[in-house]
Amino acid sequence: MEFEMERFITALVDRSPPHALEHLQLVLIPLFIAFIIAFPVAVILTRQRFIKYTDRVMAFFSMGQTIPPLAVIAIFFPFLGLGRTPALFALTIYALLPIARNTLAGLKGVPRDVKEAARGMGMSEWEMLFRVEIPLSMPVVMAGVKISVVLTSGTAALGALVGGGGMGAVIFAGIDFFRAELIIAGTLIIAAIAIILDRLLSLIDNMLTPPHMKM
């Protein structure tokens, strides 16, 4: 395989940007949906009444992580067909576990004495949750979101295989036509997307982290 600088630059500047935008959607939409599902579920699983279901629900999330996204698409092909929807669906399932796991870990890590005192002061269960438990577990939760972002950024390349678009389209074109320039350009942009999103989340993370937990 040869490498031509001119072709590489065309791939990077002309060909990639629309796909990059698609790719960004393939990362952010599943991430958002996964957060909306995994975070509340994990919070519920730490409530006294629901602790007993933790193992079962987490096993389900783990399964989502172990089944390859392509297999998920294959399984749901009869219902969802091909294109963007099954790609988003598979990526959402893929992003659930890190967020759920870290939310659980974060909430369990809230010091017992702080919770005891908060209850003793007369905080209701809701007040405890929103004023004590969630703020104190935020750094760990955000770490989970960041893991999901990086995972999803890479995996979203597979979306192109089922017609979901994204940077995968550029990479797979490069593979089909033996064009190293396309493969490298696509990979670089995916890496850049992962890094930029991770940095952006770090900013949010920093805003949400309680002062005493900052380095």
Partner: protein
């Protein structure tokens, strides 16, 4: 003020009850100290009063009202009861100011009432408001955090305070100081306080009333004097320790033992051996040893009121400890 009536608590899966048929009463404005070895049920009793733990039997009353009444919301009940624990449990993500303001905010006090109250409380527990208000708990020393813990519990001026080894996490010197300051505060506040400790000396120092617990049962209760002078069994005797007599002397004020005379004995004036009427008798002994005297003069302010002699003290000890010499 607070009354327990045959209260039981059996934790699920436990073979023996954690609290077994305990009844007693804490009078308004008193400090009642629960003392006993770990696992004796003292903390459980405390936590049942504010319903962090629900009893399996018996009733608890505050000002005549059953705390387990259906009309009582446990969260609202707790907001009216100050709560201090050994681990303090300050909110690490909130400033000292916000920590102290916690209960007033839960009670929806107007904001303009809260800040002056916080400032007043921090001053009351011996902290400099300007210095600590904006700090976070991890920036404070252990002793300062304990003070904040007490200030937070006092914030909404609850008539009742529950304190679970509140001075247990600091070194003995700081503990002694916190105890003294708290007793001084209590003289003005007149709160009804339930206080848990495993340290009998702390119990004697802090308590108007002492409840001794063992294995979930109430073993003996009474004033410190009653318990020291008349321990009911070997368990209580062991708990008090071998220095029962000196503890008694610490509890007895000199004025209670003074032999009143007008005239100052020559030995006293020669050796300049005086103590104050409010000093414990212990101080009389110390003075005797220091000045190598057998008798000390007792003053009330500047006025000489009488003497205490070595013989008086010996007789006093023998009388209250029950073995006539």
């Amino acid at each position: 003020m607070i009354r327990l009536d045959k209260v039981d608590k059996v934790f699920p899966g436990a073979s023996a009850p954690a609290v077994d048929q305990v009844s007693f009463q804490v009078d308004e404005g008193n400090i009642c100290v629960f003392v006993g070895p770990s696992g004796c049920g003292k903390t459980t009793i405390l936590r049942m009063i504010n319903r962090l733990v629900e009893p399996t039997g018996g009733d608890i009353y505050i000002k005549g009202q059953k705390v387990s009444d259906r009309g009582v919301n446990p969260d609202h009940l707790r907001r009216k009861i100050g709560y201090v624990i050994q681990q303090i449990g300050l909110m690490p993500h909130r400033t000292i100011e916000q920590n102290v303001a916690l209960v007033p905010r839960l009670l929806k006090w107007p904001e303009n009432k809260i800040m002056p109250r916080v400032k007043h409380l921090l001053e009351m527990v011996g902290l400099e408001p300007d210095e600590v208000s904006k700090k976070y708990p991890h920036q404070l020393s252990g002793g300062m955090m304990q003070r904040v813990g007490v200030a937070r519990a006092l914030a909404a001026d609850p008539p009742i305070m529950l304190m679970d080894e509140p001075f247990g996490a600091v070194d003995p010197i700081v503990r002694g100081r916190l105890q003294d300051e708290f007793l001084r505060l209590q003289k003005e506040m007149k709160k009804t306080i339930c206080f848990v400790t495993h340290d009998i000396n702390e119990a004697i120092k802090m308590g108007d009333h002492i409840v001794i617990m063992n294995k979930g049962k109430l073993v003996q209760h009474g004033t410190p004097m009653e318990i020291l002078s008349n321990p009911i069994d070997d368990f209580v005797k062991n708990l008090i320790g071998t220095d029962r007599e000196t503890k008694l002397l610490e509890l007895t004020k000199s004025e209670e033992m003074v032999t009143q005379t007008e005239e100052i004995p020559t030995e006293v004036s020669e050796k300049d051996c005086f103590i104050m009427a409010v000093d414990p008798v212990q101080r009389a002994l110390e003075a005797m040893m220091k000045k190598d005297a057998d008798i000390v003069g007792v003053k009330d302010g500047d006025k000489f009121i009488g003497t205490i002699s070595w013989e008086d003290i010996k007789k006093h000890i023998n009388r209250i400890s029950g073995d006539e010499a």
